[in-house]
Amino acid sequence: MGVRYLFLIARRILFKRKTSALTASMAVAATIFLISFNGVVLGGVISGVERDLATFQYGNLEILNEKEGVIDKPDYQLVASVTRHPLVEAAAPRILTLAAEVSHQTPNRTHTVYNVTVVGVDPFLEPKASRIFNSVAAGKPQLLKGTVLVGRDLAEDLGLEGAKGLLKVKIRRVTGEEVSRYVTVSGIVVSSAAGGLNHILIVHIDQLRELLGWEQRYSTSLVVKLSQPEKADEVAAWIKMQYPDYQVKTPREAAKNWLNAIIEGVSFINLVGYAGMIASALAVITVLTMMVSGKTRDIGVLRALGVSRKGVILLFIFDGILIGLIGAAIGGLVSSLVALWLENYPVAFFGNLVLEVRFNPLNLLFPMVVGFVISVLASIYPAWKASTYEPAEAMRYF
């Protein structure tokens, strides 16, 4: 027995009730959109965070000596050695430390901030390895001995008005001795939270060595910029062979906790999408159950004309299939358009984090298939209910 006629009846019944059909399809479409939108936005956030971490904080690779805390080799030697690899575009030494306090005197009061992260950078090498100097929002993108770049939020805490002022920086050396220096603000830097520049002080690396009392040209890390960041693991392995005592980390490894927190957030937000799936399944069940109730007499007639119980089940499952197909098509289309829009017109989230969206149609496949399958599964109960009607009973129903 062919089923083409069942599909014909299913289509006619469904399209005769356009509002109900559209409601159920839109519920499926909304779920598909919700899940894919979560994926696109949060995938964009993760990529954006990784990009900013690489751009401002860790480079494509970061070399550290976690055991000793200090890379006990002259920075020029290490830079020269690392840049021999053909995939290494640039490398720059950094010193990361804490200032016991940083203060700024205004006419009315002294603003003091304690335990400020201070990063010492090489003003000649750093611009080749990171975009720290491109993030100067006010003042001059340059660093001399005796000048500093101040993170936007720190500048606010210190009561700075624009990129000018004199700061007193107090550093406690490992010997316990406290050393203070006055430095002039030359610029204000701004980055996304992942960029990590908003709360820090950037100083000339030589000045920081002097403050710390380091006589050698040591550093605490080396940031490495690669021409092909996707080959970071290959370069990391090469560096590890040269310097087995040092650690070489990708931004993902370096900021594991950061990214894990975001990924956990993504998983949690995805739960909302899955809850939406339950809602769309309920919408399909409701619409089809109402349709079955409204078609009781016709179900009786079809049974009287010889349609089997299986045929009746198939009839309403076809409706579930149609709702699923329409919902998946609408959901897929809207999701694609939004993802393409976000890819071409990046938007900023969480302040300055610009989403890094890469539209991949294959990513839509999963939510579309899930939405479709849910619609079909949701049609099983109403279809089964319809099949239980006895023809003589059902035909008395008006």
Partner: protein, 222 residues
């Protein structure tokens, strides 16, 4: 039918709709079952058409005891051997006139093209050749019943069952419908069993069965 009983049971009630009904209809007869409302006429027709099951007794159609058929066999039997005409026409409103008539043939597994050809021929026979693409819901009562008749005949069933076929029509249309059914009965030698309480319908009968309180009280050839 042999000593057919139909008893409806529920919480606190028991209704004997049919009480040992026995009668016989020969091939090609135009049998009219008459009786007042609630006498068990429609129950009788539902049992013959296998859309309901008797509590006791046997119903033999064309040598087949339909009470012993499985559900799937009953579905096939209804589709191929029985044509139904209902008082309220029971057309599928979402389908066109042509599609409604094609439906039993499609259920039977006949190809779309063949079903369409046969349906068009029947619609010409009932005088609705010009309304094939109309929505079934937009026809007059008489037209709907003609469609219903065409639908009942498409699989060339041995038996056509009509439950109050004129119950919802005016007298002139009723006469036309009965004349049409009679013509088809004579032309195709198909057995018709009509249930009615309209005495004018009985004028077309070759056999009349009168039923009262679930029992056959009179059975006569005309």
């Amino acid at each position: 039918m042999e000593k057919v009983w139909k008893v409806y049971r529920g919480e606190g009630f028991r209704v004997e709709a049919l009480r040992g009904v026995s009668f016989q209809v020969s091939e090609g007869e135009f049998c009219v079952v008459m009786g007042p409302s609630g006498s068990g006429k429609s129950t009788l027709l539902n049992l013959i058409g296998t859309i309901d099951t008797p509590t006791r007794g046997r119903i033999i159609i064309d040598g087949v005891d339909v009470t012993r058929l499985s559900e799937a066999e009953k579905d096939r039997f209804r589709n191929r051997r029985v044509g139904f005409i209902f008082q309220f026409f029971n057309l599928i409103n979402e389908l066109t006139v042509l599609e409604n008539v094609m439906l039993p043939a499609l259920i039977c597994g006949v190809s779309f093209e063949e079903a369409e050809r046969e349906a068009l021929s029947l619609l010409r026979a009932v005088g609705l050749a010009d309304k094939t693409s109309h929505s079934a819901a937009k026809l007059s009562g008489g037209e709907m019943q003609r469609v219903s008749i065409a639908r009942a005949l498409i699989n060339k069933p041995a038996l056509v069952l009509a439950d109050e076929p004129t119950g919802n029509l005016d007298s002139q249309t009723s006469t036309e419908i009965i004349r049409l059914m009679k013509e088809l009965n004579q032309r195709n030698r198909q057995t018709f069993i009509l249930v009615t309480h309209d005495p004018t319908v009985a004028e077309a009968a070759t056999k009349i069965v009168k039923i009262l309180d679930g029992r056959v009280v009179e059975e006569k050839a005309v």
